[in-house]
């Protein structure tokens, strides 16, 4: 024992460091490395405006004469553009940083949207049961039958038809968030419903019912904290899925415009030049996307194992 007085309670930080979750995290070297890489990438993209050597959004600063420059270690590369430039002279490194910011933003918000929808519907279905449960779960099954990409294309098509043509580029991000968010809520709803049905019969729920607390407060204040474990796992695993879906949609051309590119847009733009020798335009954003998705997934996998008591 350290020489602290016997009565002093461990600080919050000490408790976190000594928790089983923290110990299990530190014991898994792969997870530590993955988390480190993911955090660095997310931090770099959030701070893109500070770190990036150029501003790819600033059309005035882009010089068409700098276009298609290779990475610095190739013949013809310049020190100013570490990873080379694209067809209109934007610095690839800077566009990746800004692009992953866009990708991560869309990923996080769409996961948050599906989490809110899924958790709410799942709680109601699990707690209320009966007809409401049947309706919500049949809805979920219908949703499951439709592939995410198709739903996204549908929502995209509708929104683009409805929105005035001048605003199409502005609503593009919203379209992505809505379409990804609306097609991924089912997993959350199913997990929450199953846990809620277990929690509903627990005696602590009966006890708060006896106090006279209403069903909404019971669901969100008492049951929700107890079912959050699996939700966080699904959210982490879905984050990488959402980033990939965003990239796919942007690659298909229904995503964000190439003036404010995400990683998917960059890959899409780059593929046109892949066979003309300018491989760096698509390979570097592709590698960044792969690394981001891989590390987030590794952390999610670890979280799933660590929070599952039935796996040793």
């Amino acid at each position: 024992m350290p020489d602290t007085p016997a009565h002093s309670e461990p600080s919050r930080w000490q408790r976190i460091r000594q928790s089983d979750l923290a110990l299990s995290f530190l014991a898994s070297k792969v997870t530590v490395a993955a988390a480190f890489v993911a955090v660095v990438m997310i931090a770099a993209s959030v701070g893109a405006a500070l770190i990036a050597p150029h501003n790819p959004y600033d059309m005035a600063a882009i010089d068409i004469f700098d276009s298609m420059l290779p990475p610095v270690w190739e013949d013809g590369g310049e020190r100013r553009f570490l990873l080379g430039t694209d067809s209109i002279g934007r610095d690839i490194l800077s566009t990746i940083l800004y692009g992953s910011r866009m990708s991560i933003f869309i990923g996080l918000t769409s996961v948050a949207l599906s989490l809110v929808i899924g958790v709410t519907l799942g709680l109601i279905a699990g707690y209320r049961g009966g007809l409401l449960d049947s309706i919500i779960m049949r809805l979920a099954e219908v949703q499951l039958a439709l592939p995410t990409i198709l739903v996204a294309l549908l929502i995209n098509g509708i929104l683009r038809a409805v929105a005035p043509p001048t605003m199409v580029n502005d609503v593009a991000v919203l379209v992505l968030i809505l379409s990804i968010g609306l097609s991924n809520w089912v997993q959350f709803a199913r997990a929450v419903r199953a846990s809620t049905m277990v929690e509903r019969g627990q005696e602590y729920v009966l006890a708060v019912r006896l106090i006279g607390i209403g069903p909404m407060a019971i669901m969100f204040r008492h049951i929700l904290p107890n079912v959050m474990g699996p939700i966080m796992v699904i959210a982490t695993l879905n984050l990488s899925g959402a980033i990939l879906t965003e990239a796919t949609l942007s690659f298909l051309g229904v995503g964000v415009p190439s003036t404010r590119p995400s990683l998917g847009t960059l890959i899409n733009v780059g593929t046109d030049y892949l066979f003309s020798g300018a491989w760096w335009i698509t390979i570097f954003p592709g590698a960044a996307l792969a690394l981001l998705v891989l590390t987030v997934n590794l952390v999610g996998d670890w979280l799933r194992d660590a929070l599952n008591p039935t796996l040793g």
Partner: protein, 577 residues
């Protein structure tokens, strides 16, 4: 040479942070034809010993020292392959839960015959014949037909008989029974205990009987070892240890066992603690000044019973369908009527599935009865003409649940759990007052105000049950429903909780509905008792009359099955160590 001998056995569990010494050097022996009881409270290391003897210690558990000798040979150093030849064949094992110790995918006959073939090398036909013979011996009717049935077609007691058959089918010399009757109803328990005793006699088996139940120890064992925190406190012939316990811990354990033959005012407070919390001095609550006594004017003094239950019936739907004729339901409670008078403790007793808890939950308003009415203080709270419960009524009916591990929200601090009803009903004016009330309630249940900052998992089962009681008191209830409040607790903890409930009732003038399957506990707590069987109330009588002169045959049967601790004179037990 004893059949089994443990010499200075030590068992350690290595965890990430430290080593837990589960068994700290014990010496025990079992002779042929002798039943040795190992008794103690949870965490004493009883089951660990049983598992260690047959080499079934789960990692990280390991034998850290000492020797295990079986029939003249040392077995704790044997390799796994050699142990496997002893386990099952020469040492049989009977576990607590008959629901999980049989494989649900194989028939009873297959499981027994496989074990026989494996251990004795008999042909399958012979093994099947022997299986039938053994099933007949353990009292399973029509064994020829039942060998082809699956475990789920057997009741709990019958399943435990099959588990016993499995343990005996290779003619072992020693049987280790780990809480073999804990999961069973009292009437089934009596049959299983008699069966085990007869089998051990007939076959001249040695047996180790691990249990927390003094009544079981008293009925079955020849010798008993009392364990506490990994050590044997006392060992000797069962009758001697039970009637004249020598060690302070044995005395405190025996004093805490509820007696079926006599009603005590309070359980004697014999505490044996080597380490642990100190008990807060009991404070008497002065209702005129105390928070819990405020709003006493809401309590109308009248002669109508506080609770009136009329023809209560509950049907659960077992098969849903749109077409009414296809729906199936089963009746959990049928035409139950009784009154609970102000200030009394009304007991409901019965075996599992008799509908006790369902009745309690209908009174509390958690279930809507299919038929019948419940009146609280003269107004209908459940039934065809019931109004929704008012906030005041809601506050006045509170409940304490059976399972201390699921009755507290594991994500909330104890302080918030208890403050919840106070905040919801706005029983306090500001945050500081809420905190002082919570602290005060925790003091009264013997935990101390500091407990408010902690989470439920930091407390033991008994302490959690105290938290539940504090939460129930926080609405200033008038009527408290206790649904098996102590059945998952150790006897010494049970005695403390029951005393606490009695004290609170005396101080606060509570009316209580007390539900238990345990007759001695019911006798200690209740003024009037209702006996339930298969959803019906078969007898209702004052406590003493029910125990001394039961009128219904079922009551008499329950009473006769109650395990009796070969009792010491009451005077002996009240002596402080």
């Amino acid at each position: 040479m004893s059949l089994l001998e443990l010499r200075d056995l030590k068992i350690h569990f290595d965890t990430r942070r430290s080593t837990v010494e589960a068994v700290r050097g014990i010496d025990l022996s079992v002779e042929r034809g002798e039943i040795l009881g190992i008794v103690g409270e949870s965490g004493a290391g009883k089951s660990t010993i049983g598992n260690a003897v047959i080499g079934l210690l789960e990692p990280p558990g390991r034998i850290a020292g000492g020797e295990v000798w079986f029939d003249g040979a040392r077995i704790d150093t044997l390799p796994e392959a050699a142990l496997r030849r002893i386990r099952g064949r020469r040492i049989g094992m009977i576990f607590q839960d008959p629901m999980t110790s049989l494989n649900p995918l194989f028939t009873i006959g297959d499981q027994i015959a496989e074990t026989i073939c494996r251990h004795t090398g008999q042909s399958r036909t012979d093994a099947m014949k022997k299986a039938i013979e053994l099933l007949r011996e353990v009292g399973i009717p029509d064994p020829e037909a039942r060998v082809n049935e699956y475990p789920h077609q057997f009741s709990g007691g019958m399943r435990q008989r099959v588990v016993i058959t499995l343990a005996l089918c290779a003619d072992p010399d020693l049987v280790i029974c780990d809480e073999p009757t804990t999961a069973l109803d009292v009437s089934v328990q009596a049959q299983i205990l008699a069966l085990l005793r007869r089998l051990c006699r007939d076959r001249n088996l040695g047996a180790i009987f691990i249990t927390h139940d003094m009544g079981v120890i008293s009925e079955v064992t020849d010798r008993v070892a009392v364990m506490y925190q990994g050590r044997v406190m006392e060992t000797g012939p069962t009758a001697d240890v039970l009637s004249r316990p020598q060690h302070a811990y044995s005395k405190s354990l025996l004093a805490a066992v509820p007696r079926g033959d006599l009603r005590l005012h309070r359980f004697p407070q014999l505490d044996y603690r080597e380490a642990g919390e100190t008990r807060a001095a009991k404070k008497v609550i002065d209702l005129d000044t105390h928070w819990l006594g405020r709003r006493m004017d809401e309590r109308v003094q009248s002669d109508t019973p506080l609770i009136q239950v009329k023809d209560l019936t509950m049907r659960f739907v077992s098969h849903h369908s749109i077409i009414p004729a296809w729906r199936r339901s089963f009746t959990a409670v049928r035409d139950v009527s009784f009154d609970i008078r102000r200030g009394e403790t009304f007991g409901l007793v019965g075996e599992s599935g008799s509908g006790k808890s369902t009745v309690a939950r209908m009174i509390a308003g958690l279930y809507d009865p299919s038929f019948g009415r419940v009146f609280y203080d003269g107004s209908e709270v459940a039934g065809p003409e019931a109004q929704p419960m008012t906030a005041v009524q809601r506050q006045q009916i509170q409940m304490i649940f059976q399972d201390p591990f699921s009755s507290l929200n594991r994500r909330k601090r104890v302080g918030d759990i208890i403050a919840e009803p106070i905040r919801h009903h706005r029983l306090a004016t500001d945050r500081a007052e809420v905190q002082s009330i919570v602290g005060d309630l925790l003091d009264h249940v013997g935990l101390g105000a500091a407990a408010a900052r902690h989470y439920p998992h930091e407390f033991s089962g008994g302490q959690r049950q105290r938290i539940s009681i504090a939460r129930a008191l926080a609405t200033r209830p008038q009527f408290l429903i206790c649904d098996e409040p102590t059945s998952s607790l150790d006897v010494s903890i049970q005695a403390q909780i029951l005393n606490l409930l009695k004290n609170l009732q005396a101080d606060l003038g509570l009316t209580m509905l007390f539900i238990s399957h345990d007759l001695p506990v019911i006798r200690q707590m209740c003024d009037r008792i209702g006996v339930m069987k298969a959803g019906e109330l078969v007898e209702l009588a004052p406590a003493e009359q029910l125990f001394e002169a039961p009128r219904h045959a079922y009551t008499a049967e329950l009473l006769s099955l109650m395990p009796q601790v070969a009792s010491a004179p009451a005077a002996d037990r009240d002596v402080m160590p």
